[in-house]
Symmetry: D3
């Protein structure tokens, strides 16, 4: 039995609030249980210099955590003057995940930057970020279409992400912080709405894991991504 009463293959309560900000082309406050991430998509004409004149667009992401998001306050990376490895790693993961469902040609020479700022962290901040970022991206694309900045469909599908892990020998879906720190193996999986894999990142925390455990985790993640895809669609339909 999990501390919060969930079944092993059950997501935490998921909330997706669109248009949380007034200015951004797309903005979503996404909550995976106690984890709250503000995902804001800013659209601008033009692309980075290395891409100019290609006719192709660009999508990128930046992830960060507010100092008081975690139990113990962490120092600001702006004050330290450098971005940590974990921040870099997650920013890159979110960017790659979104780009997996973007047709750069249909986007044209437009750039969309998605900022994922963790307001409160309780495990799964990177998977909540990917899942919310997709919704913000879809809203930004719709916004660009409404302003006439693009006419085609740059989105070739949707993406969602979830964490899975083995705790006390049992595979579980969508780990809160309390389970995350106890997990023997921890995996983050990003999948398209069509059920294919975009990213699979599994890490042995305590002991190495065998193929059977890996398979069980992948099954569980696939189940969670189906649920999240449905929640994304419902939110976008509202």
């Amino acid at each position: 039995m999990r501390a919060d009463g969930r079944a092993d293959d059950e997501l935490r309560p998921i909330t997706i609030t669109r248009n949380w900000l007034d200015h951004a082309a797309g903005s979503v406050l996404i909550e995976f249980g106690g984890t709250k991430v503000l995902c804001a998509a800013s659209a601008s004409e033009g692309v980075p210099r290395w891409r100019k004149g290609s006719g192709l667009g660009w999508v990128t992401a930046e992830y960060a955590m507010l100092p008081a998001a975690t139990n113990t306050r962490s120092d600001r990376e702006s004050v330290k003057g450098r971005i940590g490895g974990r921040t870099h790693e997650i920013s890159r993961l979110i960017g790659r995940s979104l780009r997996a469902v973007i047709d750069y040609k249909a986007l044209g020479e437009n750039t969309i930057v998605i900022d994922c700022d963790v307001l409160q962290a309780d495990g799964g901040t990177r998977t909540a970020s990917v899942t919310g970022a997709y919704v913000a991206l879809a809203d930004a694309v719709a916004h660009l279409r409404s302003t006439g900045a693009l006419t085609g469909e740059p989105l070739t599908g949707s993406v969602a992400a979830v964490s899975v892990g083995i705790i006390d020998g049992v595979p579980r879906l969508d780990l809160p912080y309390e389970e995350d720190v106890r997990a023997e193996t921890d995996m983050n999986v990003v999948m398209t709405g069509a059920g294919s894999f975009v990213e699979v990142q599994g890490t042995a925390e305590g002991a190495a894991f065998d193929r059977t455990e890996l398979d069980a985790l992948l099954d569980l993640a696939a189940k969670g991504c189906v649920d999240l895809t449905r929640l994304q669609q419902e939110a976008l339909a509202r």
Copy 2:
């Protein structure tokens, strides 16, 4: 007539939501119209090295703006690797304002850091930050008392802040962005709940201002701070 229909001496709708976060000792989402600032107070035992063994506590603040908080996305200071002058200036202002109502001795060797992160900016982010930070600070002090970390009363009063400015020759209270950029003179005033001044920062944007204008602005600010003090007290009483 102001664009949002307010009287010249009227505040925007102010919302103060306490306990917006689960972890921080005190946390407040404060809204001055479209301006939304998340103020989180983190309390920890001990003080910075230069203060150790003095028996005195410490209170400090950090201000920052999310990239998508403004109309046009701004680059992250963590990515740029340095904090800008404006951020430094406002962080220092908030810290000084809060320290004006702290009795270090009663606080004992505890440190409270207040993070003010602007989620959305529509003018007055520094005054909303000071006003919300005080409420978060009061909650953090109450939290420290509840855990037995302190017994006395480190708060010697309350502080609130408001912006005032002269637009088209007319003094106005609590400027939104649209008025702020048009203001000939712009002043931020921090006052105690008892009606004394903590900070007065007036800047001629277009033309220098005379003593009569300065006096009118100070009167208006005093009126606004009285209103804000009442709203703080109501929020803390809830």
Copy 3:
């Protein structure tokens, strides 16, 4: 009685030495008692990128303190790799003060940078900087006119600045370090030669201050700025 024998409304001995450097378009060594600031105005054709093609000029300032300027040596900001909040704050204050008396159109697409480097600090470094920077700026403008780089008059007036404070309940003008650290309230005021306010920055150091005290300080500052304006004019007439 003040430690240096001055009346409460009396400036310290002020020295303004023009053309202290050979290369700069304008250069002034200004002394407010023991405070010595070297103000150098460098003029160059062209403006920052964001202003190109506007037909408007630009004026900005940078403030810094030599490591041995104060009683205890302070670390270099270049060695630390970052500029501190206080430095940022004062650089911005000086820039805003000078821009208050500049007609950008008459300046044309020229840029003037004023560097204020504190060689020795004994209180009032920012007000000495503003006061000296104006004289260096006037010399740089004259230099630009002499080279034919401009023909009109970009200066719409003069600016001077002074500190005031309340020490042991008594308002005093132009505080040396020894009074500055003891002040209950500390205010820096920048005024035009015509007697209007450009910046008013008052800070309660110990206790908050009331309107009567604020008024007394503003009166004292106005008196000091009149004296400084006269000294600037005398220096420029030499």
Copy 4:
């Protein structure tokens, strides 16, 4: 048929040269075809501050690439003043991989840092780094034992890593640069000598991948890690 004539499940020629440096506790020049990585393990008494007094050791890794390692010279991260996301990500991966086979208690309060510097890059630099780093680590552990700094066995197994990918629909082992840039899916797998997984990092480069493809890649990686483990053992036996 692959450009270098290899079978799809065949490693490139692998060379492991131990004791390449005179000073380091362990040092290995490892070559995966044209990829050359110098892995140097430095051992020192004591542990980072946050671990002091725990009785536990620490193992960490740093990865970097020389500017001329790639086809087009890249700028030095030391000159840019910041470490890029890719460097951070790979350093963390190597560190985690090595820590998976370390018994901190048996290591005692000793620290081993493994530097993996890519002298020449032709694909698979991170997997060559992990594979070579393990050998350097084993030598460093032997060195510590020979000096009496430890008596037990801190190594609980071995680790090796290999890249796999799908090129033109065909799963292939150990991708050189030329295949890596063409891969639709790219996966890096770290396994213990006992055949369990330590890290699985799969990324869809072009199109998302399905479970069948994922399974084929995992099979191929497992085969490659068995071969690499044998080569590590042979090198350590010399």
Copy 5:
């Protein structure tokens, strides 16, 4: 008698291995006894912005040391976020030395960057770098000629460098680390193949030195540079 059995005016065993890398236009692994430096010359079309349109080429160098190159591991400059003074100093020395034998006009608007990365340090890393960098530069020039990027001869001569010092009152050539730390005076000399001086950098470590000692050191250095020039020519002839 020297610890390694050499005569006082004898170089350590010198090895110059050309084409150590596959990608760089010129690459040399040079060894002065235990000191190993990888010198890689990267050639690219175009010149830095300040030189564009001049018809002149550019040659520059960067020096760095791997963390494990020395007896005790040193921190990476990329991790520290800044380049140290010693690194700056040596990079500048190598660049100046190479530019002394370059005809910028004959090079045309091409840039050659020589990276000197110390893989193992045992004294004389800067002199080994200069000596090896010249060979890599010559190979890069030959490469540019073979691709038709230039037709004339940009090399006006060759350069080599050696260290000399006074140990226990005796002048000695080419100091290993063990002698370097004991030297009373330490001098690095860069000379052309034609026997003229490019750089003379002498430093009193313990006691100041007189003109007689200086003359003896210069004689010794001249002898060493003649030997190194011959070794460079032999390597380039292979």
Copy 6:
């Protein structure tokens, strides 16, 4: 004939003004013609961590140039966030030069930092810095003795420095900027008052130089250092 009418072996007018600052233990404004450097020596009890408990003192130096010191304004290194190679190089040269005449044991565990800030640059800023820094150091030592912080004599001699160069084939002493940029060879020489060499740094700017030229430059520098030593002694005797 030189542009300023000097003989080839003649120094520019040298001015050494002691006690230019009120706070520093020693402070000197030194002028070599148009070059003005403010040298301030700050003394403090204690030594850097790596030297604690050794009973030995420490002397170090920092060199910097004000932005407007040169003909064209240069950017501040604090604003750029990093120190340039030239600054590093000169700071290190000054420090080494001063340490050549310090008896660390007699200094005891005291630290003296000498800041050399170039207020105006007209060639020879590093040699003026060394020459002025010695005088500031001597004053700081006297100050430490007067406060009882030391009793012995930590100064084992004096140091002075001068630039020499070959212009149009003629060796000249103490080059102003205008000669410096035209010099074929440029040498900076630091000597003790007793006539021994501390640093010899010669650089071929245009063409390599032969032994005869080197000898002529060394003779000229020795002559200049004798003159400067006399001027230092006269200044210290005042």
